[in-house]
């Protein structure tokens, strides 16, 4: 037997910044997104939507549309074969309007036609007779009327506790759109036996499957969902959009049906971040010790439940932030209104309350005459402490102190550019350098990792070792974050194999991977991949009677004892792993308990230049230190950090959906402003690696923390530059110039 020296490090394993395997196809335009699919003989679908935020539907006349050449189907609620309602947390949203349109843009009917243009024209030809009703658009009025999805009261500690220094404030967060570049799209292909295959971009294939099966009234195995390429998500693909509609049209016409929302439709086709109104009262001792925090958090959930209940829970559980506090009272409500439904977006409730508590911490520091960073350090929550709201013991790592200290110690770099195009006036060159006022702001945020409140949160992964290499099968959504690299890297480090490939299985071939949300996939699908790979390795070593595995086979010391092909003559080695994180529990009646599986913190320090006369802001830098557990892929971690900060900056200075009595006034990229290359701040990131108590190699999820406190830091910096209180985000020019 030949003796070959075995390399002692696996190429592209954990800790390397391997190039993502899907990048070449994506740069060449060859990667197939859900909008790029085609099937022989396919039709195009389109949606009829309500032009009113609230209206009774008197009648729907589909005849004019059906009479058009090339139109194959026009379907309404009566054509839904199974459950007429769907929803992530509770089924309360009609598949198509049920006699009353409850928000602007609610789907009323769907059509299928020979081509996209005909489908659009047919949708416009459906005659709907509406009787407009007065919409409930004010969340405060809704709460007062008891129109809510959930109300939470958290009471922890002695309610009589007081501090001698008191600050109080009202804060507001506007509604942000996820704006993934890929709009909602998909392709449904009927089979010969009354079933259907749906190719779709989603954050959670199996929860879509469950809802589609229910609405179609079919057996589970008659509906197969396949993951198509995903053009970003950020929460926008948690809820169903066109999934049921596509399948209904395909089953009805017995033809494949494709549907692609345009941008305006996408704005009403997915839920958005909840707008928030908050009231806070902080009490502290003169030395800065937080004694009591009271908060009221009101989220506008819009017309249907979506994930309002869980978003509200997050906003309330993290209402105090990453700080210890003796006494806490939080009242939270998610209002039901006739505004477009709100739901998941990166940060999921923790963003809104962070803007409140970090604004308060700055106010408190000022009232105390104390350095704001010193105040945060004094109260910083860490391992072994209890979360101020739920009272949960922090069992994993939580380096809040280290995150704050590391960022504070980072030298304050100036902009790398003195180009006039990078002044607040941008390429318009409206701002001379002499008119610029600079400000610096600091904020810290906390976020839970994975699902909470007793949810049975699991992920399935199948590892299969064949002579062709190691294949990791999953249904986990790769939304752009780089899970495809993370899973392959974990598999390489776990087994020693370099020839590893992640593949996506459909709902008929693998169990749920859970949602690509709550920053959970690195830990969950990564954790499942690690366990599955360890089992495959153990079996390979048992079969080969060796101590190590690589692409060539099983080794004992420096001797290759059996080749990979020989090892697998008796068949592939396969292991299906169902991975769960440590169990959580539902809160008690006072909102307390071990409701979370883990936590991560991050701090942001923003530097802004403000043109005080024109009210223009340029975010120069946002530096950060983030608690990441372990960097599986450092370049991908930095990519999440820079991208998350950019969305946080957007919410701080420009991004807001504007509603007027429930009607969206800026449903386009012309009117809803997104940060561009010229708006992007420079970012320097410190990665704090303190292994968590669960998850592969101690890694934590990294997707959401960059978006939690970056907004609060930027607004704090604008306050420092302008001297204005700025209690609402996004900060608009008129807030700065005081019009």
């Amino acid at each position: 037997m030949t003796t070959i020296t075995r390399p002692d490090r696996t190429l592209d394993g954990v800790g390397t910044s391997m190039v993502r395997p899907d990048a070449p196809a994506k740069t060449k335009g060859e990667f197939a997104y859900s909008s790029d699919l085609h099937a022989e003989g396919m039709l195009w679908g389109a949606t009829v939507r309500s032009p009113h935020s609230r209206a009774r539907i008197v009648s729907i006349d589909v005849a004019p549309a059906l009479a058009m050449a090339g139109v194959h189907a026009v379907l309404t609620l009566d054509d839904v074969p199974g459950s007429r309602v769907f929803g992530l947390e509770r089924p309360d949203q009609p598949v198509l309007a049920d006699g009353e349109a409850r928000y602007w843009g609610e789907p009323i009917a769907i059509v299928a036609a020979e081509d996209r243009e005909t489908a659009r024209l047919a949708a416009a030809a459906v005659r709907v007779d509406y009787e407009p009703l007065t919409p409930l658009s004010d969340p405060e009025e809704a709460e007062a009327n008891g129109s809510t999805f959930r109300v939470i009261e958290i009471v922890n500690g002695d309610e009589t506790t007081q501090g001698s220094v008191v600050v109080e404030g009202h804060y507001e967060v506007g509604q942000q759109d996820q704006a993934p570049l890929g709009t909602e799209s998909g392709l449904a292909v009927p089979d010969e036996e009354g079933g259907v295959d749906l190719h779709i971009s989603t954050q959670w294939l199996h929860v879509d499957h469950e809802q589609v099966v229910a609405a179609l009234g079919l057996r589970t195995d008659q509906v197969r969902l396949h993951m198509a390429g995903i053009g970003g998500a950020f929460g926008a693909r948690e809820d169903l959009s066109l999934q049921i509609h596509l399948c209904m049209l395909a089953l009805h016409t017995r033809r494949p049906v494709k549907m692609v929302y345009d941008r305006a439709e996408s704005f009403v086709g997915h839920v958005h971040r909840h707008p928030a109104r908050m009231w806070y009262r902080h009490e502290a001792d003169p030395d800065g010790t937080l004694k009591r925090v009271q908060a009221r958090v009101l989220l506008d959930g819009g017309a249907y439940a979506s994930t309002s209940s869980a978003v509200l829970a997050n906003a309330c559980y993290f209402a105090v932030g990453p700080y210890r506090c003796q006494s806490v009272a939080v009242h939270g409500a998610a209002a039901r209104t006739n505004n477009p439904p709100a739901g998941a977006m990166r940060g999921f409730g923790a963003v809104q309350s962070c803007f409140g508590y970090e604004s308060q911490m700055d106010r408190l520091a000022e009232a105390l005459g104390m350095d704001p960073i010193e105040l945060r350090l004094k109260n910083a929550l860490g391992h072994g402490d209890r979360l101020a709201t739920t009272g949960q013991l922090i069992e994993g790592s939580l380096p809040t102190r280290r995150v704050i200290e590391s960022l504070d110690a980072m030298p304050m770099l100036d902009s790398e550019s003195d180009d006039p195009r990078r002044l607040p006036g941008g390429t318009g060159l409206t701002t001379p350098a002499s008119a610029v006022q600079r400000g610096v702001g600091f904020a810290v945020g906390i976020k839970n990792l994975a699902f909470s409140e007793g949810f049975d949160d699991f992920t399935e992964v199948r590892a299969v070792l064949t002579a062709d290499g190691l294949k990791i099968g999953t249904a986990a959504a790769e939304v752009g974050q780089g899970l495809v690299s993370v899973v392959e890297q974990i598999a390489r480090s776990a087994t020693g194999m370099e020839n590893v490939r992640m593949v996506w299985d459909d709902t008929a071939h693998i169990g749920s991977a859970g949602s690509t949300s709550a920053s959970r996939q690195t830990q969950m699908t990564g954790g499942a991949a690690l366990a599955a790979c360890e089992a495959v390795l153990a079996e390979a070593l048992r079969r080969g009677d060796g101590d190590r595995l690589d692409d060539r086979g099983v080794w004992r010391g420096d001797e290759l004892v059996v080749s990979l092909a020989d090892l697998l003559t008796e068949g592939p080695i396969e292991h299906l792993e169902r991975f769960r994180h440590p169990p959580t529990e539902a809160p008690d009646e006072r909102g307390r308990g071990n409701v979370h599986a883990g936590f991560a913190v991050a701090a942001h320090r923003a530097v802004v230049d403000v043109d005080l006369e024109l009210g223009l802001v340029r975010v120069v830098r946002v530096d950060t230190a983030q608690d990441i557990g372990k960097a599986i892929n450092p370049a991908a971690v930095v990519g999440q950090i820079e991208g998350g900060i950019m969305q946080g900056v957007g919410l701080a200075v420009m991004e807001e959906i504007v509603l007027d009595e429930g009607v969206m006034k800026n449903a386009s990229f012309t009117d809803y402003l997104l940060p561009t290359f010229l708006d992007a701040p420079e970012v320097e990131a410190i990665l704090i690696e303190e292994p968590d108590h669960w998850g592969p190699f101690g890694a934590k999820g990294v997707g959401e923390p960059p978006a939690i406190s970056s907004t609060a830091a930027v607004v704090a910096a604008i306050r420092a530059a302008t001297g204005k209180p700025l209690t609402r985000t996004p900060v608009k020019p008129e807030d700065i110039v005081g019009l």
């Binding site: 335009g29 550019s417 990519g639 991208g643 997104l674 290359f677």
Partner: protein, 149 residues
């Protein structure tokens, strides 16, 4: 018209955009349909040497023109250096903006003239990316400044 060096004939309906013709009639799905309003740059192509949003060009107006899409930007089976830089520099996440950025950056670097990071930012200000925060893309492309095409 000529698309990526190949003579193509299509029969667009009325005011159909060049983007729609490329995608739905010619099966060239590389140019992306993110806003179809000229705001995001995902559909960028080179039309007779000019960088345009193909969603804003009427297909009928491209009659007789020479169009280069992301599929033809490398001019062969290999990768354009902009594509190579994007891959190696972690400039790709979800990738929906990537074809437009590749086309716009290839156009910017076509002459080989040196450019600053801010020139890159201005040249690509019409290309929206929602994933990366732009940093990795600027770093990846800045390294190409002044390189001979």
């Amino acid at each position: 018209m000529t698309v990526n060096g190949i003579e193509q004939t299509a029969d667009p309906v009325g005011p159909e955009s060049l983007l729609t013709t490329l995608r739905d009639r010619l099966g060239l799905y590389g140019s992306k349909n993110a806003c179809e309003q000229g705001e995001c740059g995902s559909c960028s192509v080179i039309l007779d040497g000019e960088l345009v949003c193909s969603c804003l060009v009427m297909a009928a107006d491209a009659d007789g023109s020479e169009v280069v899409t992301v599929e033809g930007i490398a001019g062969g089976d290999g990768l354009h250096r902009v594509q190579q830089a994007m891959i190696e520099g972690s400039g790709v996440q979800c990738g929906f903006c990537t074809p437009g950025i590749v086309v716009a950056a290839a156009h910017l670097f076509a002459t080989g003239a040196p450019v600053t990071a801010d020139d890159i930012r201005e040249a690509l200000a019409g290309n929206i990316c929602r994933c990366t925060g732009y940093g990795a893309i600027v770093r990846a492309l800045a390294a190409l400044s002044g390189e001979a095409p």
